[in-house]
Subunit: 177 residues, 2 copies
């Protein structure tokens, strides 16, 4: 009886252990690691905050969109951002447009190529208290990148802004009129 | 009597002439010359079509927004654009961001500076039949540029696209996912 009970316990631990590992590997609800941030539904319909370009290794052109709470805060100059603010940064390959250039007097036209990735910042001052009130996620082809190191790098980079610009609330982007 | 009548006619011509010149100089209802295109109310809330950069003399970074009719057509790949489609192109000064660069490993960050101008394209295949179905306007600080040569140059440039890409319906921008 003792051996039977021990065997059953071992089996139960094994089964539970295997399913727990499987759950950890599966992108549960397709959310980011560390923060559990999901790609917001309908984000592509959101209003534009601003545009930017990262040269160097990134070599992208990007747009930053915001949900209603975030855009309202931007327009009112309200900082820190209220809880519920969500920012979505879309980065596309920066590519020249030979078609457009043939219309212009000189090669000068660059457009958005393929979508590289989408990064999401969610403001929740309680849930994300350990990361300045922001939770982060990076999405490629609609799927959350499951690398915790990459995901934690979001906050590491945004946190550097605090020393440079304490009023920015860890947000690089300003609203463009 | 003859002299009086002639004098009256001269006066009438003078008054009419002066007021006509004044009307031409005044941005009547703040619309573009040639096409009578106004800056659409609430355009800054519209959805994003794509982003781009013009180097060279323009040296800008830009966003193209569309009203509901235009964005729906873009997403469905519908060409020509239906009447009522309106596109708004915002161009900002392309400027480096020393603040952002100090966070990144190398200088690489460019952001949107001051708004340079806003260009508007309105699709109305009947009203603008002589210009491929599109009416144009350029706005600086919210006011329609009253230069007819500049305004007609919109169509001259967009019309060049027809020979290169007949399916584009004179629109340079493609929708970015």
């Amino acid at each position: 009886m003792q051996r039977l009970a021990t065997g059953g316990l071992t089996l139960a631990v094994l089964i539970f252990g295997v399913s727990a590992v499987a759950a950890a590997r599966r992108p549960a609800q397709n959310v980011s690691p560390v923060y559990g941030v999901a790609l917001p539904k309908g984000y592509r319909d959101w209003q534009l905050v601003s545009v930017a370009r990262e040269a160097g290794k990134n070599n992208d052109i990007r747009a930053i969109l915001g949900n209603g709470i975030a855009v309202k805060a931007f327009r009112q100059g309200k900082r820190p951002f209220p809880d519920g603010s969500v920012l979505v940064r879309l980065a596309w390959r920066f590519q020249s447009s030979p078609r457009n250039d043939s219309v212009f007097p000189a090669p000068q036209s660059f457009i958005a190529g393929d979508l590289i990735n989408v990064q999401v910042s969610v403001k929740d001052s309680k849930r994300y208290a350990a990361s300045g009130g922001w939770g982060y996620g990076q999405f490629e082809n609609g799927a959350a990148n499951q690398d915790p190191v990459l995901t934690q790098a979001c906050f590491i980079c945004h946190a550097k802004l605090k020393a440079l610009d304490g009023k920015a609330d860890l947000v690089f982007t300003d609203y463009s009129q």
